[in-house]
């Protein structure tokens, strides 16, 4: 996404808009211009393009060759995007689509409407536009935006900041005030397949074949059905061993699999885009799942209304062994306790490998961001309280012992009922008191025993007092 200059929003930045349109029109291409824009038409003709001007707001195919570029202006933007996209896709299947948009779902517009400081902004939200484009078989190939200004509202600053942050966490589109868009034809949109679990297995350049094979072998023993595996690797990473393993394990009939290739920076996002399942999970070669791991998570989601479910996992510590299979020195379950505390989502970023998301319940929430997946449990948990399976750990994250990683979560705000906080604080206070009480009881019991032994108590008390004095100097 490119950011437009704040000083020149697209609605008035006709120069930038015109330059963009001219840059996208291929030599000699037929351009369909919907909505009055004589200046643009003239500029296109001056460059040798065949321009067909339509008054709008609808787009009509007309006679002659199908357009290579359809440019929407004025009321045509909303009309075509809302009701005419499918017809356009059918009648001009190769055409690119260009338009500018003033985002009716920007945080500024929403906050203004919420507080009554501004009328409800008419038109489409960017989120709606993105959805409509995907439904009709387009993807956004180019996007230039003007971000929302952070000007205040009638609300207190902290409250404004919190509300805006929550809107941004749920939908990055809310941070866009205006934008210019180029949409290109894409494959047919795929509705998520109900009940299907898609597991994205990411492979990096340093992934050990043996570890990946074990991860796939464990997945082959999964009981969740139906199951789709997406093996996602950057271009150039050799997957021949993994592909052979997938073919072999696939003969058990317990999953279907696909390979996803993309540049490293876009790999996870592409895998998520290609995943067909209603349910989504992430693994890498470090992970092992036990046979009922996904069954239990999916059942928990089906039994409730939560957007995601997470299980207890093992952190499996490998001792290094050159040339031999890694030796497991310890398995440490995490998170501990019967409740999932908010803190766990930050201090255990590996929980991203122990969870399943119901994509039908997260709306426009961005599963993948530029920061990767490390902060996904925290970002997701901030908006959607999960269901936690607190029984026996049902998966493993393996590796050499390392200092615990903590997810970087700057600026994340949390949605929780006040009662949940009150309960959590009360619980922690009770546990602290119980621990203190237990400690006192142990000390008292020890004291009683020592009292029973002649001269020992006096000696120990003298020693303790001396130590206390010494440490006080």
């Amino acid at each position: 996404m490119n950011a437009l200059s704040k000083e020149a929003p697209p609605s008035i930045a006709s120069a930038r808009w015109m330059a963009l349109v001219l840059s996208r029109a291929r030599a000699g291409a037929a351009v369909s211009l919907v909505g009055a824009s004589p200046t643009l038409a003239e500029a296109l003709r001056a460059r040798g393009h065949s321009v067909r001007e339509l008054p709008g707001p609808e787009w009509k195919r007309g006679k002659g060759p199908a357009p290579a570029l359809v440019v929407l202006e004025g009321e045509a933007v909303e009309r075509v995007l809302e009701t005419g996209l499918e017809a356009l896709r059918r009648a001009a299947p190769g055409a690119e689509l260009m338009f500018g948009l003033r985002n009716a779902g920007s945080a500024r517009a929403l906050m203004g409407a919420l507080t009554g400081e501004a009328p409800v902004r008419a038109g489409l939200s960017e989120q709606r536009v993105l959805r409509r484009l995907a439904e009709a078989g387009y993807r956004v190939a180019h996007r230039e935006t003007v971000p929302c200004t952070s000007e205040g509202t009638a609300l207190a600053d902290d409250t404004t900041q919190a509300l805006r942050a929550l809107l941004a966490q749920l939908s990055p589109s809310t941070q866009v005030e205006e934008g210019l868009y180029v949409a290109v034809p894409d494959g047919p949109v795929r509705e998520p397949v109900a009940g299907l679990l898609s597991v994205v297995v990411t492979v990096g350049a340093g992934t050990r074949d043996a570890a990946l094979d074990e991860a796939l072998f464990a997945l082959a023993g999964q009981e969740q059905q139906p199951l789709e595996l997406l093996l996602a690797a950057p271009e150039g990473v050799d997957l021949s061993v993994a592909e052979a393993a997938l073919e072999r394990y696939g003969r058990l009939g317990s999953f279907q699999s696909r390979i996803v290739r993309a540049p490293s920076s876009a790999l996870t996002a592409e895998a998520v885009r290609e995943a067909r399942g209603q349910y989504l999970a992430f693994l890498d070669a470090r992970c092992l799942v036990y046979p009922r791991h996904y069954v239990q998570l999916v059942q928990a989601l089906q039994a409730g209304r939560e957007a995601w479910a997470v299980a207890r996992a093992f952190r499996t510590e490998w001792a290094s062994g050159a040339g031999t299979a890694p030796y497991v020195r310890a398995k440490v379950p995490f998170p501990l306790g019967e409740r999932l505390e908010v803190e766990h989502l930050v201090v255990h970023p590996e929980l991203v490998h122990a969870m399943v998301i119901d994509r039908g319940r997260i709306g426009p929430f961005p599963v993948v961001t530029e920061a990767g997946l490390g902060d996904l449990p925290a970002r997701l948990g901030a908006l959607f309280p999960p269901v936690f399976l607190g029984g026996i750990a049902s998966c493993e994250v393996r590796g050499p012992p390392e200092p615990p990683a903590v997810a970087a979560v700057p600026g994340i705000w949390l949605v929780r009922p006040l009662g949940a906080w009150v309960d959590a604080v009360a619980r922690i206070r009770d546990e602290t008191l119980q621990a203190r009480e237990f400690r006192h009881r142990v000390v008292d019991a020890l004291n009683d025993r020592i009292h029973g032994i002649p001269w020992v108590h006096t000696t120990l008390r003298a020693l303790a007092n001396r130590l206390k004095r010494d440490s006080g100097r």
């Binding site: 072998f217 464990a218 072999r248 036990y290 031999t324 497991v328 026996i392």
Partner: protein, 283 residues
């Protein structure tokens, strides 16, 4: 199923014995597919598969034949129990069969493609090998083993390679154990006779029982076998504790086993200090 020809062009030197008891069709299909992986694996040794069915009838004969038209399926006629059934196959394998190795294979396991090859490779590594077990996967058994040598305290019978040498020196399983703990007993006897028992870390068997539905019958069977193990190795306290648990689980009374004196060597090996784990846990 035989796989690639053996080096001398004769019968395979490895027998895989599978003891059945009313197994679900899907379980057998999965096991069979994993055995095919093992035949296709690079450097895979030849092996022969023999099925011995302890079920009340031979209904599984047709199911096994669907998997392999040439299957060597035998119906035991009655439920011999785990150890006795394997003993019968082992005797044949090391007798007329001329096998080097016999591998007990649990039918509810899924063998990794390299499992048989890695078991044989590990067994070949030392002349004094008695037993080699596959590593349980994905939830590895927490009993310890030496990461450098693979030496361990006892070997699980889930997928267990038995050498001809062990069979000649200590025999097979003690048939008084109907099911459970016979593998611990065989392991201790093997160690007492100076044989090496090891884990092959690269030989994986997918076998997960932690979330298996609780079965009082199985729990009673485990306690009864454990009590017998305690008696056999002279630990009356362990035996009595298991018998109490057996009774609490509603087990039918049976004749209390006689507490024996197994001798200093076996007593030094037997480990009853870790309840039913028979070894300290790594985690």
């Amino acid at each position: 199923m035989r796989g690639p020809a053996s080096a001398d062009g004769g019968a395979p030197g490895i027998w895989l014995g599978i003891v059945l008891y009313r197994n679900p069709e899907r379980e057998l299909e999965r096991l069979w597919e994993s055995l095919r992986w093992n035949l296709e694996a690079p450097g895979a040794p030849a092996f022969r598969v023999v099925w011995l069915d302890n079920s009340p009838d031979d209904a599984l004969r047709a199911r096994v034949a669907l998997l392999d038209a040439d299957a060597d399926y035998r119906h035991a006629g009655s439920n011999l129990g785990f150890g006795a059934a394997h003993n019968r196959l082992m005797a044949e394998a090391f007798g007329a069969g001329g096998a080097r190795y016999y591998v007990c294979v649990n039918p509810d396991g899924l063998l990794h493609p390299d499992c048989v090859r890695e078991l044989a490779r590990e067994a070949d590594r030392r002349a004094d090998t008695g037993l080699v077990e596959a590593r349980l996967f994905p939830d590895e058994h927490p009993k310890p083993y030496d990461p450098a040598t693979g030496e361990t305290t006892w070997c699980s019978g889930c997928v267990l390679l038995v050498t001809r040498g062990l069979h000649a020196r200590v025999g097979g399983f003690d048939e008084r154990f109907f099911m459970y703990c016979e593998d611990v007993d065989l392991s201790w006897r093997a160690r007492a006779s100076g044989l090496s028992i090891r884990v092959a870390p690269a030989a994986l068997v997918h076998h997960y029982t932690v979330t298996r539905e609780a079965s009082p019958v199985r729990e009673r069977m485990v306690r009864r076998s454990a009590a017998l193990l305690g008696a056999k190795y002279g630990d009356a306290a362990f035996m009595n504790a298991r018998l109490r648990e057996y009774a609490q689980l509603g087990g039918e009374p049976f004749r209390t086993p006689e507490v024996l004196k197994p001798g200093r060597r076996l007593e030094g090996i037997a480990d009853f200090g870790h309840h039913l784990e028979f070894a300290r846990r790594r985690w």
